[in-house]
Subunit: 234 residues, 2 copies
């Protein structure tokens, strides 16, 4: 659970370790909401580090909204409704994890395509076209190709006019970027690029025509295809 990085212990990981410990115990409910955390002094003794390290760890979970601190009194775990951040584990090496995250992404991509088709402006459409063109221009499959792919999806999310879609899709895309790159770099088959671009073209066409259902359908087929290509690779 601790020991998250591969670096030698004692080189900047102390705060990580304690932050993970506190975060896990709060999320699991070991520290109920409203209860007071152990004092910085006792935590520093418990982990055998200085109070500075403990303070940095507490500062992190404080910025996540998990706790609030009151000078002179203590640090108290906040109500779950004040939680302000959604975090991912640092690595998605596990194939099951990647699929699970993909499963979360899918309904959002469908909704994103639907909304974009209904609400897009000419400016949005132009930006989506440019991302699509950038993908065609990229050599198969360079880093810039993957980025252009993600940009295509991101531009669609921005065309929804809903900032939360844009932000969250960008977040998920970034998390999956390494996985996507790995999946593609392995199989150097050039027809994959053609297939992917044609799938994207269908999505683009549906958004051009302001046809929400066709856009969702095209996105659905694209994601299914992407998932299969990921699985094939293994």
């Amino acid at each position: 659970m601790a020991q998250s990085k591969s670096a030698t212990p004692g080189r900047g990981m102390l705060a990580d370790e304690i932050a993970d410990y506190l975060s896990a115990n709060i999320r699991s409910g070991a520290f109920a909401h409203g209860t007071k955390l152990p004092t910085e002094h006792s935590l520093s003794e418990q982990f055998g580090v200085s109070r500075t390290v403990v303070r940095e760890a507490i500062s992190r979970i404080k910025s996540d909204g998990l706790v609030t601190s009151r000078q002179g009194s203590g640090v108290y775990v906040a109500h779950s409704s004040t939680r302000r951040s959604f975090k991912l584990g640092e690595s998605l090496v596990d194939a099951a994890d990647v699929l699970a995250l993909f499963e979360l992404r899918q309904p959002l991509e469908l909704a994103s395509a639907r909304l974009a088709a209904a609400r897009r402006t000419e400016e949005h459409l132009e930006r989506i076209r440019q991302a699509h063109a950038a993908m065609e221009d990229s050599s198969d499959w360079s880093e810039e190709g993957v980025i252009a792919d993600l940009a295509f999806h991101h531009e669609i999310a921005m065309a929804t006019g809903n900032g939360y879609y844009a932000d969250f899709m960008a977040f998920l895309g970034g998390a999956l970027q390494n996985t996507i790159r790995a999946a593609r770099s392995g199989s150097g088959r050039p027809e994959i690029k053609k297939i992917t671009i044609s799938e994207h073209a269908r999505i683009l066409a549906a958004i051009e025509q302001r046809d929400p259902e066709s856009a969702a359908m095209a996105m659905s087929m694209h994601l299914q295809g992407a998932r299969e290509r990921m699985s094939d690779k293994t």
Copy 2:
């Protein structure tokens, strides 16, 4: 942009201020990826605080995956793909914001209900039933009623077997909790509780019968109703 809390400046907000500053500048692209941040010493001079405060701020954005630090060298902004946290603004007072967030939540709730109906175990079902019962027992509309409502949706998300659904729905639910409570406390009409519970009952029944499409349909009707009740209130 700074000055987020209402507390007197200089009482525990210093790290917040600097963290917000750095975070905003990195997300906006003012600090491109790979570039080195100003040193802790220079930042502490720039803001007129000690290095400790700067370090706490950096510790926060480090835990968000925005930067990585190397001892003896400096702090470098990471590639956007290593971003590990999705954060919300601290307040959702704006009605448009609430609706936008609701729009993000909807497709996820539908997918959550669908998957839960397909994959739920008896244990999951029992926990969903308990949350439903807790809602019926709660006085209309107490704090515990809202919590039971959110728990109902959260248990469904857990029944998907996908931890990301459980985590993210809990996150969104918490963000909307205050809004939901406000929307209900205003209109003290008791029939609202009956309507909400019957909508939930339909979702529960569909999940019991392992009928994904009915579950999604029931969830869709529930969310539409909830949105209308929120708008009526205004």
